[in-house]
Amino acid sequence: MWDDILQFIDPVLNAGFIISTIKAVVIASALLGIVPALVWLERRLMGRFQVRLGPNRVGPFGFGQPIADSIKLFFKESIIQSSADKFLFHLAPAIVVFTAIVAFSVIPFGESVTVFGEEIGLWGANINSGILFVFAISGMGVYGMVLAGLSSNNKYSLMGGLRSSAQMISYELTLGLSALSVIVLAGSLNLIDLVDSQKTIPFILVQPLAFLLFFIAGVAETNRAPFDLPEAEQELVAGFHTEYTGMKFAMFFMGEYINMVTMSSLVTLLFLGGWNSYGLPLWPILAFAGKVFFLLCVFIWLRSTFPRIRYDRLMTFGWKILLPLCLFNLLVTAVIKVLYFPTGIL
């Protein structure tokens, strides 16, 4: 018995295992470190869009503001009202952050590089159905919001949770179907293959409609304005996280911002050609990071431009406009592919 276990562990402790562990730690800590930077970026950009300054007192350009904010959140008293379901109340924010980080683990952000004779891929894991994995795990993230709404024992939280589940299910269809038209063109579910098939031309030029639909659905999936119905302040206090304080409250925000990064990375990989720089003298990883940064700015730009849409209109928009458009686009793409490019496009 013990011999078996030791024999199992021995080959496991090789270079591959150590590299994977380092990758996991680096990706998780980088994602968690990006969150305060994004909060700072969002507040500064929002300030610019609204003709005001934004945070500028703590440190140069207000760089110290997110640090001060996170220290404040750490030391705040954690309040749980007595009627809440304690276990689910603690579980909900953990699910949100966990699924957000795990979903990012299959996102590749560059070609593999060779360090000390070991070939290291710039991704957490390269699995065959990478894009399905992202959809599956980010779909599980809804449970965090629903359970937060259910366990809080508060009618506004419950409504926020219900709205979020309805919204996520509706827009997941659009998200998956618009990604499917790209998958049909590339003929693979693997994210690295998808990027490789965009070597000459990014899919945004081939599939502009699918790009638009995917981006709209992506904004709705991450619960960002103008689709932030689950936490509509004017009608639902703060939606599913009304009852949360301190670090547990901050965890919902961490989940939201990490999901924003994941969604921007997905759009980059599927439609903007990933790390291909199309003639510009850029490192692949910088090309990827630049595109993701641009999309994150677009996310913030959208938030400060559009008012929140009404709940029934959100549903009508999703089911009666986006979904038929998606199906139509997929049908046309599939027909063109079968008739003109049976062996593969580009």
Partner: protein, 178 residues
């Protein structure tokens, strides 16, 4: 060596799935029942993953754990997740009889024939190709085409039925006063 640890992992996952299934029927609070069911489905997805069925595992999570169970939680939230109180009744005892019957059936099924290992060319790339989306798609659209299309028609009928049932008339509840 590897086989033993692999089988241990499969065994632990199977036991977890069974325990989660017991949790579904034995737990008093509907919310926790639904959560146990989600845990059960995640265990199944992991088992599929261990059997090299990547696509099926992803589909299991996306459809069952991601969409269907969300609707379950949705309904529990709307109806209120109050704890059920156990009370003896005819239905309860007949349910137990049914469970015993099902166990007997399971034993019978297990005793029919010993399980056989898969034989043939088992190169790593062949094993990887078994569970891919391409393999599943080719299988569905060639050998099981009629069953697949019938299932889609059934789903369409169900969708139309749901819309008919859920559609309410827009007639005003009270006649407008003249």
């Amino acid at each position: 060596m590897f086989e033993i640890t692999y089988e241990v992992v499969v065994f632990i996952l199977g036991i977890t799935a069974v325990l989660a299934a017991f949790g579904v029927i034995l737990c008093a609070s509907p919310i926790y029942c639904a959560l146990y069911l989600i845990g059960n489905m995640v265990c199944f997805a992991l088992l599929f993953l261990l059997f090299h069925a990547e696509f099926i595992a992803a589909a299991q999570i996306i459809i069952y754990a991601g969409a269907v169970m969300i609707l379950f939680l949705f309904i529990i939230a709307l109806l209120g997740g109050a704890k059920e109180i156990a009370e003896p009744s005819v239905q309860r005892s007949s349910a137990f009889a049914f469970v015993i019957l099902l166990f007997g059936e399971l034993l019978l099924a297990a005793g029919v024939e010993p399980t056989r290992p898969i034989t043939g060319d088992l190169a790593p790339d062949v094993i990887n190709a078994i569970g891919s989306a391409k393999a599943v798609g080719i299988e569905l659209f060639s050998r099981h085409l009629i069953a697949f299309e019938l299932a889609s028609i059934l789903l369409l009928i169900a969708t139309v039925g749901i819309i008919c049932l859920a559609k309410y008339s827009y007639l005003p509840a009270r006649k407008p006063s003249k």
